[in-house]
């Protein structure tokens, strides 16, 4: 679908993207995961023909994003990171508007959005600005889909949306994928990685790795342990001060840590007891994408 080779982009001397290369396969759900400022939005804007790359090549099918941007735009469904519908138009009017500017009608492509739109139906005549966050995102998704795009580019669609709506939103994306849409989605939430077919991990404008989430996790090179306890902050600072520990960080309500080679977590437990910390428990744990990301970030 997309082939990106050696892409570079700078903003006022600051590199936003450096040496980005990857490929998007037809009908996959590709997630771009990385913290704020890792270059996801810049990359998506280039893919959506809204920004020019400094160097490198971006091809969509056989079109070039720089020279053939008008042709590419017909195939694109793009949902910018900010809420970008008309707050003073109603739900229905927004949808109709986006259908007409793509030269189609809501009726013609209703089947594609039927499931999502049915949830919005009760608010048909409400101004879009007065919808809840989750509803806004669903409406924006409908508007991006209404012209039956080949590829859907979603820039952080779940940011600022509550946990339930987030889960729902991902379910919708899976269903859209089954209908043959290729989906590129970016997110700062690592826990959403497992919902993608493949993920691109980004950090400071560079791609860290590109793979199927399971394979990324499988490539985690060391053993990961978790420490549970009453005061995780104390446990975390205690563990990270020990010479046997390689790295330690908080993850939810537990401390994840790895050991330096030829050391055993039993040594950590002994130290913690010596320091007067009680009521803790150490277990080996299966790493997640977040653990993988942190491991790569610290060791590079």
């Amino acid at each position: 679908m997309y082939r990106v080779t050696n892409l570079f982009k700078k903003y006022n001397q600051v590199a936003a993207l450096s040496n980005i290369s990857f490929e998007v396969y037809p009908n996959e759900l590709l997630g771009f995961i990385g913290p704020d400022g890792s270059g996801k939005t810049t990359l998506f804007r280039i893919l959506a023909t809204l920004l020019l790359p400094d160097s490198g090549e971006v091809k969509f099918m056989n079109y070039d994003v720089v020279d053939d941007f008008q042709k590419i735009r017909r195939y694109l469904g793009y949902m910018p990171g900010r809420f970008s519908l008309y707050a003073d138009l109603t739900v229905e009017e927004n949808l109709n508007f986006f259908a007409t500017i793509y030269g189609t009608s809501v009726k013609e492509n209703y089947d594609l959005i039927a499931e999502i739109y049915s949830q919005l139906e009760p608010f048909r005549t409400r101004p879009a600005g007065k919808l809840s966050g989750g509803m806004k995102q669903k409406l924006a998704l409908c508007c991006a889909l209404i012209h039956r795009p080949t590829v859907l580019i979603l820039d952080e669609p779940t940011t600022g949306v509550d946990a339930v709506s987030r889960k729902e939103f991902w379910m919708l994306l899976r269903k859209l994928k089954q209908r043959g849409v290729t989906i590129l989605v970016s997110t700062p939430y690592m826990d959403e990685a497992s919902l993608c077919d493949r993920i691109v991990l980004m950090q400071k404008g560079k791609i860290m790795s590109t793979d199927v989430p399971e394979r990324l996790i499988a490539s985690y090179p060391v053993k990961l342990y978790a420490a549970f306890g009453d005061n995780t902050y104390v446990i975390k600072s205690a563990i990270s001060s020990l010479p046997e520990c390689q790295m330690a960080y908080l993850s939810g309500r537990k401390v994840h840590f790895t050991m330096k080679p030829s050391h055993h977590p039993r040594e950590i437990a002994e130290h913690l007891t010596k320091l007067g910390i009680e009521n803790f428990r150490i277990e080996p744990i299966a790493p997640t994408v977040e653990d993988y990301f942190i491991y790569r970030m610290i060791n590079e």
Partner: protein, 368 residues
Amino acid sequence: MKAFWGFVRKEIYHILRDRRTLIVILGIPIVEMLLFGFVLTNEIKKVNIAICDLSNDEITKQIIKKLEGSSYFRVTSYLTNIQNVEAIFKEGKVKEVVVFEPDFSRKLTKENHASIELISDASDANFSNLVVNYTSAIISAYTKELNNTLQGSYRIDPQIRMIYNPNLEGVYFFVPGIIGLILMLISALMTSVSIVREKETGTMEALLVSPLKPFHIIVGKVLPYVLLSLLNATAILLMSYFVFQLPVKGSLFLLMLECLLYILLALSIGILISSSTNSQLIAMMVSLVGLMLPTILLSGFIFPIENMPRILQWLCSILPPKYFIIIIKGIMIKGVGLQYIWFETLMLILFTLLFLGLAIKKFKVRLV
């Protein structure tokens, strides 16, 4: 084409939904007309004047009585010396001094004419104009009366002297200025703000990735405002006719056509502003300061261009409102046809092409 009309429909929704702005847009011309109309009113009441009667005879006394007898003036001081005129103006107690020359009656009866000097404080230009006109009217009414009763052909010449602002020009015809101002304001300000708003809220991103052409976006944005501005122009003309009895002497069709040309010019300036900034606030400031002030100050609307320093005169010549006001004054007041205003019309066309070209060239098909 369907996409284009869909876009226009969306713009109309925006305008209609924003009730407050709409009321302001439609209200401005009416309020401004009434303000200007009644502030520049030709009604004066009990204005303080001073008399300097160097003759002090029967006829001058009668004229003074006439002035006092009218409801317009109140004689508050009598000067005995012409030298005191300057001082009394500086004190600001009177708006006008009426000076009768020595031997007034004798001159009038022997030589058939005598002079009255009307000196007025023209630092308040419009007002002093009114005061002088009223005084002249009273004097000429008296002269007529005198001629009827004495069967003579006497002439009293009011010698008018405006001090502090000698080249006073009538600001009477404020209607052309208001049309120029309102059209510039609504067209340029509203379009620039409405385009920049799309950039600010991020909807421009969604529009840009759509197959809509820049041309469609621009024309679609502009079209509803053209209609709105024409509506405003019509409202102003109707008001000037019905409220201020100022008819359009020339061709109404030509007038509307020139208005349309000027609206297009203002709109292209608005588009140009919007493509140079990403903030509604800046767009608004540029439109207000950059367009409204020159339209008021450097167009001949209030201050006559002929009285300006040479540099400002040149500046006026490179600003479009001057030409529009000449055109409008020509058509409305003098009733001239295109053959007298072709140069100004041509200038407006050139300005429009220039700004429209720049605007389309600067419109970005991408972000940043």
